[in-house]
Amino acid sequence: MDELVSAGAPEFLADSGAPGGPGAAVATARGLRRMAGVVPFGVYMALGLGAPLVAVAIGAFQSPNGGFTLGNVRIATHGEYLHGFAQSIELSVVAAVVPGILGLLIAYSIWTAKRGSILRQVAITASGVFANFGGVPLAFLFIATLGSSGLATRWLTDLGFNPYQHGFSLYSLSGVVVVYMYFQIPLMVLVILPALEGLRPAWREAAANMGARTWQYWRHVGGPVLMPSFLGCVLLLFGSSLSAYATAQAMTSGTIALTPIQIGTFLNGNVVAGQQNVGKALGLGMVIIIAIAMGIYVVLQRRSARWLQ
């Protein structure tokens, strides 16, 4: 990064030092040219995020014949739909915090392994594969192993412990959490690893030279440096499990209330017709949940940034 900046600097100086009147025009043109790089990204964001967001926000307040209504929002915030939001948040918090901590510990052990060692390579590659394994195939994998007549369930039953007689069910909220761990933990490993690599060995050595113990190093140096990344990664996991759809759908057929599945009922089913806008109201609710989560993240990050100063 440093090199890029210093390489760019002389050119910039030469440019602004160029003689001639239309310096302002040149500056504007240069400003535009510099902006040109972000145009594709801007267009992508506008079409891929902005436009759908506006459509959802407008649709949420439209009746089927196009007039303004609060009816959709009223339906979306009552009864099973409110319950759906509550369970979605509950599921996502658990399926973000627990894999977040476990993923951090695993990433730490990978990081401490010798650079270039086979174990390290395998662990990173495997995380990449597992983090992208989801949807219906994942649901099937778990149904076949931990389902009520799954392989592992049968082994456990043979050993005298049938988990289904001790309150466990793969088809419940806790079952869905277990399945989400499968891709959330490796995802956490992948995203937190670069942050761990940002911890310079020199800091550790400096702390040791000043007589800091391990816990003191983590409390005053490593922890605060990692905190913003850790929070960002947990937020990513939260979003990832909040929006996951196919796995839970294939495993529970909607018997537990989850907002993404309820949205699916309104938008792509062939049973309920003419209530698409209730689905949009639910979608707007999810946008708001993510916005609040990001707000909390910003506040926490500011606080942890203060520790860094």
Partner: protein
């Protein structure tokens, strides 16, 4: 028929060759009348058919005839895009399964049935009440989320009929599945031919003709029974487009489908043709094909109205989470 031959072609839409025996049916029709069939978008949906009629209006490749889900037939009829036509055997189609003016009429369909793998399920279930017995622990599934999948919705409707509900009261069906879940028999995964084959859901409540055609090949011990306490049937519809470029060929096609040959060909494709009772009473039925499907109840066919279905869908989407 001369007019049809002069047109020389017929545009059909969304007819997969392996669905309800359509591959054979189309070949046989062409061989018999020398009329070429163009099958557009074989894997499309009912909505795709309506869109094609509206968008291709006036073009020579616009669809002539439709094979369409009932609720979509009603919708298309309301849009006024269907031409009325009554086939020769019109009176053999039950009044509840056709539009009185002939804009659409049932072609084939089936009943909600209990399919089970007799290799794993040793006590044969015959009713919804049976399925609550402890013998079927962790065995019963339906084909998905009833707030989204039509077949699963139909299963809840059938369960309602078996438990004191009616076409205008589906709540007992939801309550039934809640009970089935509580006793530990209901496995809430998306049941399919694959979950039956792998043994995760040895019992699957689904359409009888889909059990026979989809699950049959992979599950050697498959037995299909229509529950004695809840009969729920649904049929697809035939319709001719009002803007059909080949209207005579379209009418000839409909007549062909409603002959003994056409009806038996559907039956051979494991779909239950609407005029099956006539085939049976006149002993013109293909016996082998008939035996592949479970015996239909002798009660007369009745269907919920669109309004009843819409009201039921609202109830199910509000009550299903928490089952």
């Amino acid at each position: 028929m001369t007019a049809a031959k002069k047109e020389g072609q017929l545009n059909v839409i969304t007819l997969p060759a392996n669905w309800a025996n359509y591959g054979t049916i189309m070949k046989d029709f062409t061989a018999k009348y020398g009329i070429k069939i163009n099958d557009a978008n074989p894997d499309g949906t009912s909505q795709d058919e309506i869109n094609a009629v509206n968008q291709l209006k006036g073009q020579s490749r616009a669809p002539d005839v439709l094979d369409i889900g009932n609720s979509f037939a009603v919708k298309a009829d309301a849009q006024g895009i269907l031409a009325p036509y009554r086939v020769a055997s019109w009176s053999d189609i039950p009044a509840s399964a056709k539009a009185s003016d002939g804009t659409y009429y049932a072609d084939y369909g089936g009943y909600v049935a209990i399919g089970y793998n007799s290799a794993k399920v040793t006590t044969p279930p015959t009713s919804f009440a049976d399925l609550l017995k402890p013998a079927y622990k962790n065995e019963v599934a339906i084909n998905g989320n009833p707030t989204q999948a039509g077949a699963a919705f139909a299963a809840v409707y059938a369960a309602a009929l078996a438990n004191g509900g009616s076409f205008s009261n589906i709540a007992p069906g939801v309550a039934y599945f809640k009970k089935l879940h509580q006793v530990g028999n209901f496995v809430p995964v998306t049941g399919s031919a694959a979950t039956m084959e792998s043994g995760q859901t040895p019992i699957l409540i689904w359409w009888d003709y889909l059990l026979a055609s989809e699950a049959g090949p992979g599950v050697p011990g498959l037995k299909i029974v229509i529950p004695s306490d809840g009969h729920y049937a649904a049929y697809y519809d035939q319709a001719i487009s009002k803007t059909a470029p080949d209207p005579a060929a379209a009418r000839l096609w409909e007549e062909y489908l409603y002959t003994t040959t056409g009806q038996n060909l559907w039956l051979e494709g494991k779909a239950r043709p609407i005029e099956l009772p006539t085939l049976l009473s006149s002993s013109t039925v293909n016996e082998t094909a008939y035996k592949a499907l479970p015996a239909a109840p002798s009660t007369t066919l009745t269907f919920p109205t669109q309004a009843q279905q819409a009201a039921a869908a609202v109830i199910v989407s509000a009550q299903w989470p928490g089952v």
